[in-house]
Symmetry: C2
Subunit: 356 residues, 2 copies
Amino acid sequence: MSSELYKVVADIKPVSREWSVKARDYLNQLAIPRGSLGELLVLAEQLSGIKETLKPSVKSKVVVTMAGDHGVVSEGVSAFPQEVTPQMVNNFVRGGAAINVLSAVAGSRVVVVDMGVAADLGALVREGKILSYRIAPGTRNMARGPAMTREQAERALESGIEIVGSLVRDGVELLATGDMGIGNTTPSSAILAVFSGRPVREVTGRGTGISDEALENKIRAIEKAIDTNRPDAGDPVDVLAKVGGFEIGGIAGLILGAAYHRVPVLVDGFISTAGALLARALAPDSVEYMIAAHCSMEYGHKFMLEDLGLNPLLNLSLRLGEGTGAALAMNIVESAAQVICEMLTFEAAGVNGPEV
Amino acid sequence: MSSELYKVVADIKPVSREWSVKARDYLNQLAIPRGSLGELLVLAEQLSGIKETLKPSVKSKVVVTMAGDHGVVSEGVSAFPQEVTPQMVNNFVRGGAAINVLSAVAGSRVVVVDMGVAADLGALVREGKILSYRIAPGTRNMARGPAMTREQAERALESGIEIVGSLVRDGVELLATGDMGIGNTTPSSAILAVFSGRPVREVTGRGTGISDEALENKIRAIEKAIDTNRPDAGDPVDVLAKVGGFEIGGIAGLILGAAYHRVPVLVDGFISTAGALLARALAPDSVEYMIAAHCSMEYGHKFMLEDLGLNPLLNLSLRLGEGTGAALAMNIVESAAQVICEMLTFEAAGVNGPEV
């Protein structure tokens, strides 16, 4: 592991038990039947533990949508052509995509990052409309060899960490992950299969909506990628290098950076949660900074959430990515923060407690 | 039925099939894998059908929290003393309650209505801080006779309708229901038992968190109320009069008013959904204007949602009332509206469609 990456991973600590307990005690005094705000109370406690305060603020929000391409698309694993990745990046820049619309409702910024799109996005970078942490014009075909080198995998992780560092300096208080990359459910299923030991067939779904035949191609390609590359589940950088993607590594880096800087991070759907599996494998305590935004319709997502021990906030049959589920969940996280920041206790509100 | 109530009920029409179909066709052209925004697309179609446009706006939002007291509390059915109802109304006015905090995050106003609290709230009414549609200082004990007269039940329903009329004249585009009333899970369970024919024991839960003994009292009180009063499930006004509550009737009226004025209405938890059962019984088409905000932890709520055929947006283990679940869901409804209003189609965004 490179020294920068090693330093961050080694410095990730659990959230504060002391502040979690303080928060729980305080929440139990609010003028409501005990526990009646359900998951909002769980979230409020988590936010207090992360930020070490009873007044956690998550008003300054950003969705980081990471884009990358995948050599494995040549195996016929996706319903859409590869050109759609840069086309959608352009749509993000124009503000016409779902992530733009949902982030606007949530009061969040969107930062789009080129992690390795197979097209020239230089003009958008020069105009300051997207960030470039471009590693290569797409990964190589993992069915025939490693998707990327070990050094590229480390760079992808470090890019995410670096982006969070700069956002935190700008005052960001709540982070959300997002992805764009035609073919990227394929490496995500591969990562899940490697870490969980589940059969590829069991964790591979239809992504953007492929035919039965393409699904068989996809399963074969993943099986071949794992057989050919023999990723080492005990070495997360090896897993990312062999069967990952640039944007997936970037997302894992975002999560590690969030945990390092003690910022809560909303993890979006299947691709983002593949990043979360990598982050957890590198730094087990990072999972305490994660908030699972939703459970995706993409088949393997529920296994990922189960393995991470995360309870998704939303279940709205989404399967889009971009960070859309995370953007939708921001309002719930902000509500939880405001519950602990603004609500009155029984005593302060002059409300009688329970008598039975 | 009084003539005003009869007129509104008779005038409630289904949502527009024509606009629903137009919306579905348009949503299928958005630059996303078909159907990948799940429930947001279902909601967007519903909003278009309700408002007869492909550009439905729900920016102007209000939660109406209706308060009332219940004579049946003398049977020992609640964990909290009756004084808590006016104390919480005061907390709403001060802005220290959950509904204030969650509505603020959602960008919604809160309107608090005294439908029949067993305390003098006249000062708050004169200061313009709450509305008064006060019917009586609490219902009578339904375990010993009808909770209210038929005329009072009609007035409760008409109050809700009148409030919506005035909010619609002010430009409100999205309505949400809320309740406050110590003891009000008791009439709500009774209403569910009467309409569904399910045994009282099966539809009665612990409300704000009562003991085993109090739960037995509560079940007995509901059984006695139904035995004594023999509410006629075929006559919703009779059900409300015999085993209902003023705020529950008010909420049913809000829903009828919303359907009449073609405004979508977010239905909160157990008490609000008891109101929804009454509204549907009076005007079956009103259900097409309802959006189930969440599934409450209060035991019988899932049966109500099932019987209404509604799929709740959130599942956050809430059991508070006040309109809190509805306020939390507003952001999702607004997101759905913005999806159809603002997102670009494949053609407009210059994005290739699927090829496989």
